[in-house]
């Protein structure tokens, strides 16, 4: 869960649109290995995590084509597959990061001048909300 926590910190600290977009991109991308690690058919939340991965990837892609996303984004290494925490821990962390993504991207959409940026932020926030709705359920919230 360290990666999710780090992504949350970075997203909180982002202070302008390019930084928010880049942090959001990384946050969505960092969610994917955490979610994949929980896709155990024997687990009770298997399908929830499967759908959540789709929403996280959708959110990442929404931000990926934003005009203000710095060209240097998406150039770091791919996140390693994390150690397996419990499904509950993962869902709780992911729900928290999803809420933060929703908050920051919704705020960024209001500030964005370019229609492309605005649309990227709105779409990204929508995907974050979809993810939160699933993860909150899996976390028993």
């Amino acid at each position: 869960m360290d990666r999710v926590a780090a992504a949350s910190v970075r997203l909180e600290r982002a202070d302008d649109l390019p930084a928010i977009l880049e942090a959001a991109f990384d946050a969505f991308d960092d969610m994917l290995p955490v979610i994949e690690a929980q896709q155990d058919p024997a687990g009770g939340a298997f399908t929830t995590f499967v759908m959540s991965a789709a929403f996280a990837a959708n959110g990442r892609d929404a931000v990926l084509f934003a005009p203000s996303l710095p060209p240097s984004a998406s150039r770091g290494p791919i996140a390693d597959r994390p150690g397996c925490g419990s499904a509950l821990e993962a869902a709780t962390a992911l729900a928290g990061l999803g809420r933060l993504l929703d908050l920051r991207l919704t705020g960024a959409a209001a500030q964005a001048v370019s229609p492309g940026d605005r649309r990227a932020c709105i779409d990204g926030a929508r995907q974050a909300r979809r993810l939160v709705s699933l993860m909150a359920g899996a976390a028993g919230q």
Partner: protein, 630 residues
């Protein structure tokens, strides 16, 4: 299954009305006045004429392509094609005998009949026409007159077994009508008639008798074909099960559905998903609805559907064991295991999309929406909570055994629902495989730069998806389709054993396969796919082979090395095809074993299967052809 009228309903109603009309045709009835008898005879002549017209239209549908075959070449036609030609000839003869002036003798054909027998003919003709209209909702023709499939039932309709069943149907109509005609021909002119009127009536009666005998030739021709190439009662049942090409209405479970309601909802949603998946494929080159969001959500939902089906099938397996059906129980557990493998394959396809996207985003396609709905319906079947959703949390207990199938008679309906859902996944895999292929050809697939090779220097957050990765995605869809097809096959056997309503699905797929194998009566002119898809698919075959792609992905650009890789690809494909020939494995699916499509594969498949249709060669998922209708 969904309560919609079927061809069988119309055909049965037509036969019943004809039989009733004939029973009311009484040439010696003393209760009928002379004038009444004449009116009845006139009504029957008019009714017969219209029956001949409608049957002629049915026959013309079948002989559309054989019209180009010269009479001296009719020996090459299949028994049913020859029967259709002979029936057309007999109908023309009967029509000419009955209405030498081209039908003016009957006045307006729209005028309702006055006699009860004539009214029976009128009703029968309405149902016969409705039956043909129903079949025509599945087919249309393009500007070049080429027949175009509009539904998954279209190849079933034009298949030999169903064509034969259809001919048996109208042979019966012809036979009943001819019987009525022969009875009506015995009616004597009333004594009060003037001599000239009596002569006119007698001439008409003799013409009616001759036309009836000509009409009986239809029955003879059809039954000759039936002896040579028998059509089974299952084939007739398949024809009767065909419904109009109307998509079931969209609906979602509300929470208080019975298991039967959930099965119906699952079946209807599966049908919607199949239909929509079929129609979106041709637009993949340009459609804004083709998004990475949609494709990955579809794959994720398909994973969920497979998972839910495996749960349902395990519950049913346990229930069948409780109810003493050991063989059925074993079949259900095998199906459940197959569904689990399909689930894993779909999950791999879904995960591939973590490294892929499209230039269009933010739109969820109708296919993705329907697949998500299917996941919801199947989830409601699998879990005990009547309001289950994906967001309900991890501690959802599965539905109790006795709740899913309280009695043995409840089992077939649930099996059918799972069968329909799994079959839809086969179609979805085929459709999405084709969509990804077309999107790759159109340069619509992109990947985050982070996920690309370090050697690739792209000053953007995303770059074009390497062909090797596209290949892996296509392989994932191929495997998902194959795994889903195996689940469907396992479920077909169970459905057959428990006589589930979905056995029609199995029969339809078998008939469609026969059609695709070039056995269709008018198969020569059938091209089920729009021309742009055909062209796009042909371009797909120009993709480099497996090893050539890997080297390209590694950044190798040396033409000599790439040429060697291409030669290795070709040699591998030749080896696979040669092995297939030597093994004389008629059922071996050559392209299934090939690592990738390439021009060489196309050429070799053509060489190996001289009779193969161009659809077989160009279709990018040969391994799924057995089940997929795309």
């Amino acid at each position: 299954v969904t309560g919609t009228a079927t061809f069988g309903d119309f055909a049965a109603a037509a036969s019943n009305h004809l039989a009733r009309a004939v029973s009311l045709t009484d040439p010696v009835a003393t209760s009928r006045s002379g004038a009444g008898r004449v009116t009845q005879a006139a009504d029957i002549r008019r009714g017969m004429s219209r029956v001949i017209t409608v049957i002629s239209r049915y026959v013309a549908d079948i002989t559309a392509s054989t019209a180009r075959v010269r009479p001296d070449q009719h020996e090459v036609l299949t028994p049913w094609a020859r029967a259709a030609v002979e029936a057309a000839r007999a109908l023309k003869e009967a029509s000419a005998l009955l209405a030498p002036d081209g039908g003016r003798v009957f006045g307006s054909n729209m005028r309702p009949s006055a006699s009860a027998a004539g009214q029976g003919f009128d009703a029968a003709i309405s149902f016969m026409t409705a039956g043909r209209d129903l079949l025509h909702t599945h087919l249309s023709a393009d500007l070049d007159g080429i027949r175009v499939y509009r539904s998954e039932w279209a190849p079933v309709i034009v298949s030999v077994p169903v064509t034969g069943a259809l001919m048996l149907e109208f042979a019966q109509w012809a036979q009943i009508s001819a019987t009525g005609g022969l009875k009506a021909a015995e009616v004597k002119p009333p004594r009060e008639h003037r001599i000239s009127d009596s002569i006119e009536t007698l001439v008409a009666q003799r013409r009616l008798e001759a036309a009836s005998r000509a009409l009986l030739k239809v029955d003879v021709a059809v039954h000759r074909a039936q002896r040579r190439q028998p059509v089974s009662s299952a084939d007739v049942g398949l024809l009767h099960a065909i419904r109009a090409n109307v998509i079931p209405a969209h609906r979602l479970p509300v929470g208080w559905e019975s298991v039967a309601d959930l099965c119906r909802g699952t079946t209807e949603t599966a049908e919607r998903a199949r239909h929509i998946a079929r129609v979106v494929v041709p637009d993949a080159l340009w459609s804004p609805l083709l998004t990475g969001d949609s494709l990955r959500e579809t794959a994720a939902s398909a994973t969920a559907v497979s998972h839910h089906c495996s749960i349902v099938l395990r519950i049913l397996g346990a229930r069948a064991a409780q109810q003493g059906s050991a063989a059925v129980s074993a079949g259900l557990f095998q199906s459940a295991a197959a569904a689990e493998r399909a689930r894993d394959a779909w999950l791999r396809a879904a995960t591939m999309w973590n490294q892929l996207t499209t230039e269009t985003r933010g739109v969820t396609s109708p296919v993705a929406a329907e697949t998500a709905n299917l996941a919801l319906w199947t989830g409601r079947l699998a879990f005990a909570d009547a309001t289950w959703t994906l967001a309900k949390g991890p501690t959802q207990p599965a539905r109790p055994l006795e709740s899913l199938a309280p009695t043995p008679s409840d089992l077939p309906g649930v099996v059918a629902a799972a069968h329909q859902a799994c079959d839809a996944l086969v179609q979805l895999a085929a459709a999405d495989h084709q969509q990804v292929s077309l999107a790759a050809q159109a340069g619509r697939l992109h990947s985050p730069t982070r996920s690309l090779s370090d050697d690739v220097d792209i000053p953007h957050p995303f770059g074009r998806t390497p062909t090797g990765r596209v290949s892996l995605v296509l392989d994932a869809y191929r495997q998902a389709g194959q795994a889903s097809a195996r689940t469907t096959a396992a479920l077909s056997a169970v459905a057959q054993a428990v006589r589930a309503p979905s056995t029609t699905l199995t029969a339809a797929r078998a008939a469609a396969r026969a059609s695709r194998a070039g056995l269709g009566v008018d198969g020569a002119i059938i091209d089920p796919r729009p021309a742009d898809v055909e062209r796009a698919s042909a371009r797909i075959t120009e993709l480099p082979g497996h090893f050539e792609r890997i080297l390209s992905d590694l950044g190798v650009t040396d033409p000599a090395i790439l040429a060697r890789a291409s030669a290795i690809d070709l040699a591998g494909e030749e080896l696979i095809i040669e092995s297939g020939r030597e093994a004389n494995a008629g059922s071996m699916r050559i392209a299934q074993c090939a690592p990738a499509e390439s021009p060489a594969t196309t050429a070799l498949v053509r060489a190996a299967e001289p009779g193969a249709t161009r659809q077989v060669v160009a279709r990018p998922i040969p391994a799924l052809e057995a089940e997929a209708e795309l």
